[in-house]
């Protein structure tokens, strides 16, 4: 299947061509909307239509000079970074524990730990809204950070867990037998080995928080509005080209995250390849 030499009959060749044509159309469907929105942010006009009347940076200027947008970018960063750090700690510890834990309850605990990914956002948001309001955590950064950490930690558990599956536990034993204290063994043997997993988990965690809007809709006060939250209102009210500038900024962040992740994956594969 892996090359065209296996395509002997005309019907197979037709099927293969059809696959390529359909796939190309699907790729266009997937990528075109994201590409189509980008040039509009450089428009000098205020309508979101092609052809562009001219090219300008006025909408980026508008974004940078708007306290509302800049504040939302700042909030997204604060909440994203804080919940990433928190979920890295909680998720890495839990993944290390789960890798060693032998119990018939393990599948149940694992399902529970991963469930925030599957449960619809609205349900989590409504639950948190009822739960956090009486203790003053709605309309606060802390409440949003805690909520986003709950959503993001499963990704850290998954990625670190995946790294640990290929982790040779004898290395930790060897470190211990050579006199390393548990903390030393962790810091100098285990941590460097699982670091790619922790790092990609952190990227997923940050992306989760950076993109999350449902919980923010329920829990954020005007002070804590994040970039997606501001975009949500913007799309609802009327789409100004400033939103497309915001979209380009968000997409740039996504591309950086994706590229970093891909780099990590390649590095990991190379390391695996060299050790094999």
């Amino acid at each position: 299947m892996s090359d065209n030499s296996s395509l002997r009959t005309p019907s197979q060749r037709i099927a293969w061509t059809a696959t390529i044509v359909i796939s190309t159309l699907v790729f266009i469907f997937l990528i075109a909307p994201i590409l189509a929105i980008m040039p509009l942010s450089f428009s000098s006009g205020s309508y979101l239509t092609y052809p562009l009347p001219g090219v300008s940076l006025r909408w980026y200027d508008d974004f940078i000079n708007s306290p509302r947008w800049m504040n939302s970018l700042k909030n997204s960063m604060i909440i994203g970074v804080a919940s990433t750090l928190l979920s890295m700690v909680l998720g890495t510890l839990a993944a290390l524990g789960l890798a060693q834990w032998k119990s018939r309850f393990k599948p149940l605990v694992l399902a529970f730990v991963l469930s925030p990914v599957v449960v619809p956002g609205v349900i989590t948001a409504v639950g948190l809204y009822f739960f956090f309001a009486p203790i003053g955590l709605t309309g606060s950064y802390l409440g949003l950070i805690l909520a986003h950490t709950a959503l993001a930690t499963p990704f850290v558990v998954i990625t670190v867990g995946a790294t640990l599956q290929s982790f040779d536990t004898n290395l930790a034993r060897a470190a211990a037998s050579l006199g390393a204290s548990p903390l030393d063994a962790f810091r100098r043997v285990i941590l460097p080995l699982i670091l790619p997993g922790v790092a990609s988990g952190a990227l997923f965690a940050f992306a989760t928080s950076f993109d999350e809007v449902v919980i923010v809709l329920f829990m954020a006060g005007p002070e804590q509005r994040t970039l997606p939250r501001e975009m949500f209102s913007g799309i609802r009210e009327n789409i100004s080209p400033t939103i497309t500038a915001a979209a380009v900024i968000l997409t740039t962040v996504s591309v950086i995250l994706l590229a970093t992740l891909e780099g990590l994956r390649r590095r990991n594969e190379r390391l695996k390849g060299s050790s094999a």
């Binding site: 892996s2 469907f29 524990g97 950490t149 997409t251």
Partner: protein, 424 residues
């Protein structure tokens, strides 16, 4: 071996050399297990506070009924031993008059009025008009007459059964409402009045939209996954970017992009007009079409990735074997290849369906009023109308559906080693 063990056991000696290896290993293992549990515990406690607790609280709200109990405590107590066959006795009327006077003084009458109005339309007026016109506590023995004069509704049995049924502390009222059911004055479960029976339609709509999106994702995703699995790694990795980039792009950006593309002066309509295919702009957004297109775009990677990993695991040798045994390509595909992709199809479809069920943002932004899914109503009742009981009950139904489907998904994935969809 037996002797030192007994000796150690009998003397209780603890010296390292005397404790048998087996027991020492066991002890070390137990310490390891405790350490492992201690590492998991922080996350479990954290999730209990930020996830499981809040959801349990929501579920409790879907059956809790405290408002009437809190505002009209004496009435609820007096109605506890009412047989419900005839009008309640004077005692209940006096209790109600007392409760209303107290509630008016503390300004809590609206809380009970709101709750009772859910159960019986117009109850708010009954209660507030009574509160307004009840100047002073009625003379002993005249409460029934006084209240009946203020509002004749107090002479009807149904008014009283409504109060009794809302007396809590738990109720099936909201859960029944979420399924378009209600209890009649005799306590039997019957269909809700047509003007309130909207939720089955909304659940059906949610189900249909999710199903359409799942089918669309499967139709579009299958050829792409097939192509990616068939190409050599170098090229497929490159093409994978087309799948992963949208996957990583913000949901808001993608939704916004579709609005820009599909609006009446958008790129798609402009192109079609320019090509002369249409004479006037098509209505492509703020309707079901727009919702399905945007949701398919957002969820397609969740279909492609599990499909891809299941196809990648199929050895090309099977197809070669089929061909060498004389199977025509189509037969080989249908009987050898397709069956092996079924776990991937199942996992991808379930994942897309589960995620689609809970969608809120995309339909809210690109859908019309008739395309809003169940999450929209949960949000609406929570933040706008503050009918928290009903919001929680609708949430409970959605959660139940999600959990059941997730269990099926878990079984499927566990059985087939498809890592599918967990964003990696």
């Amino acid at each position: 071996m037996a002797l030192p063990m007994t000796a150690a056991f009998l003397t209780g000696a603890d010296a390292r050399t005397e404790v048998p290896l087996k027991r020492r290993l066991k002890r070390a293992e137990r310490a390891r297990q405790i350490k492992a549990l201690a590492l998991i515990l922080p996350l479990l406690v954290f999730l209990l506070f930020t996830f499981a607790g809040p959801i349990a609280g929501m579920l409790w709200r879907s059956v809790g009924d405290r408002e009437v109990r809190q505002v009209l405590p004496q009435t609820v107590a007096a109605l506890a031993d009412w047989d419900g066959k005839d009008l309640p006795d004077e005692k209940a009327y006096a209790a109600l008059a007392g409760d209303i006077m107290a509630a008016r003084a503390s300004g809590t009458i609206a809380i009970a009025a709101k709750r009772l109005n859910y159960a019986q339309n117009g109850f708010r007026t009954i209660l507030t008009s009574t509160a307004r016109n009840l100047k002073a506590a009625p003379e002993p023995g005249t409460a029934r007459e006084t209240l009946g004069k203020i509002n004749p509704a107090w002479r009807e049995r149904a008014t009283w059964t409504t109060i009794r049924d809302a007396g809590g502390p738990v109720t099936g009222f909201y859960l029944l409402s979420a399924l378009d059911l209600t209890r009649n004055a005799d306590g039997a479960i019957v269909a809700a009045p047509p003007d309130q029976a909207i939720y089955r339609d909304i659940f059906t709509r949610t189900f249909l939209i999710s199903l359409s999106v799942t089918v669309l994702c499967l139709i579009l995703g299958f050829p792409v996954a097939y192509l990616l699995a068939a190409l050599p790694p170098g090229r497929s990795n490159l093409l994978m970017i087309f799948v992963l980039l949208p996957f990583w792009t913000s949901l808001l950006v993608r939704t916004c992009a579709w609005i820009v593309l599909l609006q009446s002066k958008g790129v798609v309509n402009d192109s079609l007009l320019w090509l002369g295919i249409i004479d006037e702009p098509l209505r492509l957004i703020y309707n079901r079409f727009g919702v399905c297109v945007a949701m398919t775009h957002v969820l397609l990677p969740f279909m492609i990735l599990p499909l891809y990993s299941s196809m990648k695991a199929i050895s090309p040798a099977y197809m070669r074997a089929a061909a060498s045994l004389g199977a025509p390509p189509l037969t080989a595909f249908l009987r050898i290849y397709l069956p092996q992709t079924l776990p991937g199809i199942g996992a991808g479809s379930l994942l897309v369906f589960i995620l689609a069920l809970g969608y809120y943002i995309t339909p809210a932004l690109v859908g019309g009023a008739a395309d809003q899914m169940i999450s929209y109503f949960i949000a609406l009742y929570t933040t706008e109308t503050a009918n928290w009981g009903l919001a929680s009950a609708l949430g409970a139904v959605l959660l139940l559906a999600t959990i059941l489907l997730a269990l099926v998904y878990g079984k499927l994935v566990q059985g087939q080693q498809v890592t599918g969809g967990m964003k990696n």
